[in-house]
Amino acid sequence: MSTLLVLEQTLNGIQFGVFLFLISAGLTLVLGIMNVVNLAHGALFMMGAYFASTFVAWTGSFFIAFLLIIPSSVILGIIIEMLTLRPLYLRDHMDQVLATFGLILFFNEGVKLVWGVDPQPMPTPELFAGNVEIFPDAPYPVFRLFIIGVGLLVAAVIYFLIAKTKVGMLIRAGASNTQMIRAMGVNIRFLNTFVFGLGAFFAGLAGLMAAPIISVESGMGDEMLILAFVVIVIGGIGSVRGALVASVIIGVFEVVGRSMLPIAMQKIFPLEIAQTAGPAIASMLIYILMAGVLFFKPQGLFPARTG
């Protein structure tokens, strides 16, 4: 277990965390402000990846694909919001869970019909294709650094949007007390659609960024959705800052834990136990972390909702 490996895995963890942030940032806004359970967020992420793969195949350019992802994912998000979620805002969470579960079934199977069952090809954009040596003798893919950059940029954009603009002010007010801003005469319906469209865009962007490094296939959003939930529970529903902190924590725990824990356990326990229990405990780590956070702070690390 060399220092270099630890550093590299930590960097991988941060990269995975930032990537998780791209997914959970939109979801935490939707959950926090609209008070709606949206399981279809994972499906939006998957659609983003499929769109990206298709656009790149058409145009051959990652950048143009990015420009096309913006309208396509936002429009898809708004259609979903208007058709299925809008009638359910005032219903209980159970209805929202089931309806959005129906959407997952639809999209997971729909992509198989449209694109076939095989994973879709998605080349790494040429500009970011190579490796750099951040640490001596340890080549690191540029694209992974690019993901970190995009994630931090998104965090900055969201910070600006939420903290400095009028619409951000309404979003913050909505997160802390929906009833009150409704009473103040804010068009909550428009705000909801806006937030959902924004969330859909971030999910689509995450899909675009993920497409070159994970396999673009049906159901790729399902596991990510659960991880995003863990992030949101730890960070606090509706808190973008919480989502950023929790994403990086989860990312590092997940990646470093999975690669290091089995090795570390071999030093303490007999080989047999370490090989059996190591991966099991590593996969439990983030959930244990979540349970721990909940035990001490049931509202998450950065609670946004006050009333």
Binding site: L31, N35, V37, L83, T84, P87, L88, D92, H93, M94, D95, V97, L98, A99, F101, G102, L103, I104, L105, F106, F107, N108, E109, G110, K112, L113, D222, I226, F229, V230, I232, V233, I237, Q275, T276, P279, A280, A282, S283, M284, Y287, M290, A291, L294, F295, P298
Partner: protein
């Protein structure tokens, strides 16, 4: 909750039909249906157990597949170590599910609303990953297992006997939840759903009541897991996948949430529909997904909930 005369008759007819299934389909030489209906009845038990906390207690657990998995792994792991005694396996299935439900419930019930849904989901995912990482017991690939051995006259190798055993458990579980929901305990649970603050104000320790309901529900689903492992003779982490939790929820919805026997009807409706429609097209979720959205939007009361209600409430 009392049953109307119509519902009592429907239940009686349903029971008679189920009893007649094995001889009937054997006569028609379609023994595949014995396995299919056995599977449906197992999921009916799972849906029934979920409805206790979901429909009556208002606890939206998105992790009920956990106990299905635990119950089946109790069979698989014990059989792997050559402990095939059915009573012992059943005891471990129920006990193990109860212990895990207690731990998960104790953590999750500290929260409510969206948090509760997400945490029950995440906790089940945790168990799913443990199942995958258990290399000794098949890991990702699952673990073939032998059927449980009870006393000589209950030979589960015989599909008929397994069918009637599952039917027996289904009737038992229906009886238990009927007694439970109509008991003082059941009233408190329903009260917590209606208005928890008020229940606390009149002196009920609602957390403890809800936790106990969560544990009872989980252990009942453990029985379903025990039966599922026996039916499929195979145990896999797939039983604990969160899609399974979603499907059990759908069964409750289709039958009618918060009705006593609706989930049983829902399990039949959902699984038989799936069986029929998947015969037409492999891509049936494309049709079922939007159908589910429509069901949620327009037909929330479910099949059983559509029937006339008795004055004492809808059984």
């Amino acid at each position: 909750m009392e049953l109307t005369r119509l519902k009592s008759w429907l239940l009686a007819i349903g029971f008679v039909v189920l009893v007649a299934v094995p001889p009937l389909v054997t006569a028609l030489d379609e023994t595949f249906y014995i396995t299919l209906i056995s599977r449906v009845m197992i999921f009916a038990i799972a849906a029934l157990s979920l409805d206790i906390i979901l429909g009556f207690g208002g606890m939206i657990s998105f992790g009920h597949a956990a106990y299905l998995g635990l119950g089946s792994y109790a069979v698989g792991i014990l059989a792997f170590h050559e402990i095939t005694n059915g009573w012992l396996q059943l005891f471990v299935a129920i006990g193990g599910s109860a212990v895990v439900a207690f731990i998960i419930g104790a953590i999750c019930l500290r929260t409510s609303g969206i948090y509760f849904i997400m945490i029950t989901l995440a906790m089940t995912q945790l168990l799913f990953f443990i199942g995958i990482s258990l290399e000794t017991y098949g890991g990702d690939d699952g673990l073939p297992t032998d059927r449980s051995e009870f006393a000589a006259f209950i030979d589960l190798g015989n599909e008929w006997i397994l069918f009637y055993l599952i039917l027996g458990f289904l009737v038992l579980c229906m009886y238990i939840s009927w007694r439970l929901i109509n008991s003082r305990f059941g009233m408190v649970i329903r009260g917590c759903h209606e208005n928890e603050a008020r229940m606390q104000a009149i002196g009920f320790p609602t957390y403890r009541y809800k936790l106990l309901a969560f544990v009872i529900s989980g252990s009942m689903c453990g029985i379903a897991g025990f039966l599922l492992a026996n039916l499929t003779e195979f145990v896999t982490p797939e039983f604990m996948h969160w899609f399974r939790s979603g499907e059990i929820m759908i069964m409750v919805l289709v039958g009618g949430m918060g009705t006593l026997f609706g989930p049983v009807v829902g399990a039949f409706a959902f699984l038989l529909f799936e069986e029929i429609i998947s015969g037409f097209t492999e891509n049936w979720p494309v049709i079922f997904g939007p159908l589910l959205v429509l069901l949620v939007l327009f037909a929330k009361q479910g099949v059983w909930g559509l029937l006339p209600k008795s004055k004492a409430g809808d059984g």
